[in-house]
Amino acid sequence: MSSAPAPADPVKPALLTLAEVIKTFGGLTAVNRVSFAVDEGTVVGLIGPNGAGKTTVFNLITGNYQPDRGDISFAGRRLNGLRTHRIIMLGIARTFQNIRLFQQLTALENVLAGCHYRMRGGILSAMLNLPAQRRVEGQAIEQALQALEFVGLTQQVFTAAKNLSYGNQRRLEIARALATQPRLLILDEPAGGMNEQETEALIGLIEQIRARGITILLIEHDMRLVMRACDKLVVLEYGGKIAEGSPERVRADPRVIEAYLGTEEDA
């Protein structure tokens, strides 16, 4: 685990790399030759108008879709062709644009899902309730509770996910993702549907996650959050990358202003 969020080292290979990735659905090219890199310890924002292909890029990274062409690699390993749970095990965790929690289950049970792959034990050891089984369960619950505490859900440990407030559901999703102990955390519109206060708290949470040495890649429409939280922005439009760089540079890029920010900044 890396320590402080050091500035990107030019010699060190990036944690996540997309190279000339193409994904088409029927006649529609959703992602068109997109390349970018995410350096370890940074926060990278993926922005662009609706339908630009941002979520598709996320789904390609986590193996929900397979790219038609191009390579995606993470920590020196090619991700193409791997199933989603294998990619999660390599150290990528994600949240979803439309919150996908296990609605009927409690917050704790939700977070335990993230601990699952690091635990051992199958049908037999569960039925026999072996000491090793109990120890593993205890450790997982411990870690899950820590994740819940980290996102500020100590009071809601036994609340069913469906009964949590919208903001807390987003937090719970982050806790579940963190429980997988990722190196890279992918957040799909984490501030979506949040009010100003909740967004403010979320920015704080992102800072805290980053301080733990976890790299973050996020999609977000809230420009305040993007400008404050991200070290680098990648801008997509119609499936292609139109700009990449520091928030200041991207903000000043005429193509970006035309495509996206021009209308947003007036608001």
Binding site: T62, N64, R83, T84, H85, I88, M89, A93, R94, F96, R100, L101, F102, Q103, Q104, L105, T106, L108, E109, L112, A113, G114, H116, Y117, M119, G121, G122, I123, S125, A126, M127, N129, Q133, V136, E137, A140, I141, L145, T154, Q155, V157, F158, A160, R176, A177, A179, T180
Partner: protein, 319 residues
């Protein structure tokens, strides 16, 4: 510490069941034995349908595999019927894995249709006397009586303790399973497959595991059924059996062990109580299911969240 109401309820139920044969006649005990077998089958289907949310309406096929395995081994090779339990379970489980593997990625209603097909294929294969070992439409008769520690089990009240003992053991094991990583993984599947896979859970593996384990348990229930009846035939494993089992799980509350027990009593027991209205049985079943879906879709005794006693006390300290 005050015992929780469901613990008291469970204790009362166990006590009542333990002495029930002393107060009931042979026919009534036999009805309880039927209920026990359906409870066992319901519990096994509950793993697949209730816990993992996989729509399986061909459960009778696995039940049949177990029953026929036991009957064939017993009548042809004189293997004591109860000794065939593990093998019946293994055969039914292996069969389930083989048929589920290519179709388990199907969702909801599609899986339902395929499993109906599997159930029918097995039943028709049995009627047609495949490999010349199933006895065709007449089935297999002359299955030996089970022996437990030298006692031959023959009378209904003896079967009562055998069957309900197995139910109790199953509940004990399934409760442990429910509390484990395995049990939770099945629930994650049911709640949101994409999120489960996205949390690092091998959903394909757990779907198959749910099918395999549920089918193996149904196969063992089949052995008990063969032992109790001493004669089995394909008509005991019809599509209707699969429907009844599906109903037991949905009516009781998907994922709820207590719910499955209650529903087994209602679905199997009530028709015996109201025998004179047997003609209206389908009508009543249909009506009940409709009313349930409208007013109580979660089932009679819906599953409750897992408790983690020592976490609860640790959490209380923080609050």
């Amino acid at each position: 510490m005050k015992p929780r109401p469901e613990v008291l309820g469970a204790g009362a139920f166990v006590a009542l069941m333990a002495v029930a044969p002393l107060f009931l006649n042979a026919y009534q005990v036999d009805v309880l034995n039927s209920i026990g077998l359906y409870a066992l089958l319901g519990l096994s289907l509950n793993l697949i349908l209730g816990e993992a949310g996989l729509f399986n309406m061909g459960h009778a096929a696995f039940y049949a595999m177990g029953a026929y395995t036991a009957a064939i081994l017993n009548t042809r090779y004189q293997i004591p019927i109860l000794w065939t339990l593990p093998l019946s379970g293994a055969v039914a489980g292996a069969f389930a894995l083989a048929v589920a593997r290519p179709v388990v990625h199907l969702r909801g209603d599609y899986l339902l249709i395929v499993t109906i097909g599997v159930g029918e294929i097995v039943r028709i294969a049995l009627v047609n006397d495949v490999f010349g070992i199933t006895g065709g439409a007449n089935g297999i008769f002359g299955i030996g009586r089970p022996r437990v520690f030298g006692y031959v089990i023959r009378r209904p009240e003896q079967f009562f303790y055998l069957i309900w003992g197995f139910v109790a053991l199953s509940i004990f094991l399934f409760l442990r399973l429910k509390k484990s990583r395995f049990g939770r993984a099945l629930n994650y599947l049911r709640e949101d497959e994409v999120a489960a896979e996205g949390s690092g859970i091998d959903t394909a593996y757990y779907k198959l595991a749910a099918f395999g384990l549920g089918a193996a348990w149904a196969g063992m229930a089949g052995t008990l059924f063969a032992a109790k009846m001493t004669i089995i035939s394909p008509e005991s494993f019809s599509f209707w059996e699969s429907v009844v089992l599906f109903m037991i799980v949905i009516l009781g509350g998907a994922g709820s062990i207590a719910g499955v027990l209650l529903a087994a009593f209602l679905v199997v027991g009530l028709p015996e109580v109201f025998r004179e209205f047997a003609g209206a049985r389908m009508l009543v079943f249909g009506l009940v299911m409709m009313v349930m879906m409208i007013f109580r879709p979660q089932g009679l005794l819906p599953a409750r969240g897992r408790r983690f006693p020592w976490v609860a006390s640790a959490g209380a300290l923080k609050q």
